[in-house]
């Protein structure tokens, strides 16, 4: 509909200057889009061209050797998953609880919910390296966790929380109010309403939010350098330092001469995982939006 409204603007009998300006704008709009799409394809093909040669099952199952120049990334993957596990086991309960408070317990927006929202807005803007400073000073030094998977995971939990809360809140507010009225009419308790009605109805949105948070956490590097650290051995416990995949790429590219081939392969692994995670999140959101529309027209 929109493009029809705009296409009506295109009229042939106009002064040359006006028509040229219009053509120039069309060219710029297409040019910008081609530039962006081209950049995406360039980046992707370069990662595949550089990484695919070295990427096989052995790369995923072998431990890194000679500072990562040879061998694989098995220990790195384990550390990455452990950091992610710590991050999610703290951020998901906190995020779920806070999102329920914001969308169900304080509709209309009282003072405490306004404060929560404002604090999350600021938290969302904090640069990741500042989270690194904070995580190092608070978790690693003040709480005595040192450079460890625990420090890194908790720092990431603080970082993904605003994103997680916003997407959970959105999927809760997408649940029709009829559900809440029906549950009130049945005299369901708050606990029952949340666990039996709202959360099941919002599940696809919750999963999408979770996937986005996982994507953000796995993409992070700067916040982890000084919290979970560099050690590329297999971690024995959560208090050991463990090297995340993103840090592995950084270290191979910048500090290890001759590390480029394995940096390429690691970058390809990370990009493929993130593309899969983000694409499934987008697919879920798409399905919810379409489902919502279908529901309204019925």
């Amino acid at each position: 509909m929109r493009e029809n409204a705009m296409n009506l603007c295109l009229e042939e009998r106009r002064p040359l200057g006006v028509r040229l300006a219009d053509i120039a704008l069309t060219a710029f709009a297409w040019g910008a889009a081609l530039l962006i799409a081209g950049g995406f394809i360039w980046l992707l093909t370069d990662m595949i061209a550089g990484g695919a040669r070295n990427l096989d099952l052995a790369f995923l199952t072998e431990a890194p050797a000679r500072s990562g120049r040879s061998g694989g990334i098995s220990t790195i993957l384990v550390s990455t998953l452990l950091i992610l596990g710590v991050c999610l086991s703290v951020s998901v309960p906190l995020g779920l609880g806070t999102a329920i408070v914001l969308s169900e317990l304080s509709r209309g927006g009282d003072r405490s919910s306004r404060w929560i929202r404002a604090s999350l807005d600021v938290l969302a803007g904090v640069p990741s390296i500042v989270f690194g400073l904070f995580g190092n000073a608070f978790f690693a030094v003040a709480l005595g966790m040192g450079f460890s998977i625990l420090s890194g995971g908790l720092t990431l939990a603080c970082m993904v929380l605003p994103l997680l809360i916003r997407s959970i809140e959105l999927s809760l507010s997408a649940v029709p109010d009829d559900y809440r009225r029906a549950s009130a009419a049945l005299d369901l308790s708050l606990f029952g309403t949340v666990t039996r009605v709202l959360l099941p109805a919002a599940t696809p949105g919750l999963v999408a939010g979770l996937l986005l948070a996982i994507g953000r956490a796995m993409a992070e590097t700067a916040a982890l350098i000084f919290t979970s650290g560099y050690v590329d051995r297999m971690p024995g416990s959560l208090l050991d330092s463990g090297r995340a995949l993103s840090i592995h790429i950084y270290d191979l590219a910048m500090n290890v001469p001759g590390g480029e081939t394995n940096a390429y392969a690691s970058a390809l692994v990370l990009v493929l995982m993130l593309l899969a995670i983000n694409a499934s999140a987008a697919w879920l959101v798409d399905r919810i939006v379409r489902g919502g529309r279908a529901g309204r027209t019925v």
Binding site: C9, L120, V130, E220, A222, F226, S246, A267
Partner: protein, 288 residues
């Protein structure tokens, strides 16, 4: 209606999580300030701008703690990237809203969304192996302010494009139909109808992009060369405040470590100012 004990406990637990979540930002500010206090009290603010250079490991008396070159690096990379991103991001949104054929719009949107999810360390690595060698051929040494600006542009472009797109979507269809009925060209429609209606939303998009550019660490760290010097051309290597923290926090002690926290506080203050600007724009967008 009687509220059961379980419900009270449940609501209490929920409120507790909300309180915990909102305390995190206070903890971040608190620990940044605690870290920054030693440097602020022993060195004072002036020395960060008047010292002879950046030689932080020699201690409070013999060392030099001038942060201006790094501040200039942050400002230069950010301004350059935003100057390139703002027009490109808005053009991308205009493309997907008004020019893209129906069959292209969704795939194009998907590509922009996926670009937004690619990690900064991958952008940095790509810049290091693709972009820096190209710039080296143009004008050595290669790692440079220009490389930083270009990589930052590619990185924040998806964010700005997606938000600009949302701003254009918010324009009422009736206004576009009105413009069409008046026989306006696309150019006039964009200039006199679309932009005035979407100005606040487009502003939010640019401010958010600026915030991301200022805070970005890995990508600039990998392509900028990290030499502490006032940049005198776009081909000169620079070091940003964020890169400086990432490079030195690992071995910094005493005043040196504390000065890194001071630069963290500086970044935080800039971000807070931008959040405030964004909030005002958001209010204006809601009024429009």
């Amino acid at each position: 209606m009687a509220v059961s004990v379980r419900d009270r406990v449940f609501a209490g637990a929920l409120r507790l999580t909300g309180a915990a979540a909102s305390t995190i930002v206070l903890l971040v500010v608190l620990y940044l300030c605690l870290g920054a206090i030693p440097a602020l009290s022993e060195l004072g603010i002036r020395r960060f701008f008047t010292d002879s250079g950046w030689f932080p490991s020699a201690g409070a008396r013999d060392g030099a703690f001038n942060l201006t070159a790094m501040l200039a690096g942050t400002v230069a990379t950010t301004i350059g990237a935003v100057a390139l991103t703002a027009p490109l991001g808005v053009l991308s949104a205009i493309f997907s809203r008004f020019y893209a054929p129906a069959s292209l719009r969704r795939p194009y949107q998907r590509i922009v969304e996926l670009l937004a999810g690619i990690p900064s360390v991958v952008y940095g690595f790509w810049g290091l192996v693709c972009l820096v060698p190209l710039i080296r051929e143009l004008a050595p040494p290669g790692p440079s302010l220009l490389a930083g600006i270009l990589i930052l542009t590619i990185m924040i472009l998806p964010t700005v494009a997606l938000l600009a797109d949302a701003a254009l979507e918010a324009i009422p269809l009736s206004q576009l139909e009105g413009a069409a009925a008046l026989g306006l060209t696309r150019l006039t429609t964009l200039r006199d109808v679309v932009f005035p209606a979407a100005r606040a939303g487009l502003g939010i998009a640019v401010v958010l992009g600026t915030m991301r550019a200022i805070g970005e660490t890995m990508a600039v760290l990998m392509v900028c060369g990290n030499v502490v010097r006032m940049p005198d051309s776009v081909f000169a290597p620079v070091r940003t405040l964020t890169a400086n923290i990432a490079l030195e926090l690992g071995y910094a002690t005493a005043e040196h470590r504390s000065v890194l926290f001071v630069s963290g506080v500086m970044l935080m203050l800039i971000v807070l100012a931008l959040v405030a600007v964004q909030e005002r724009l958001r209010r204006r967008a809601a009024l429009a």
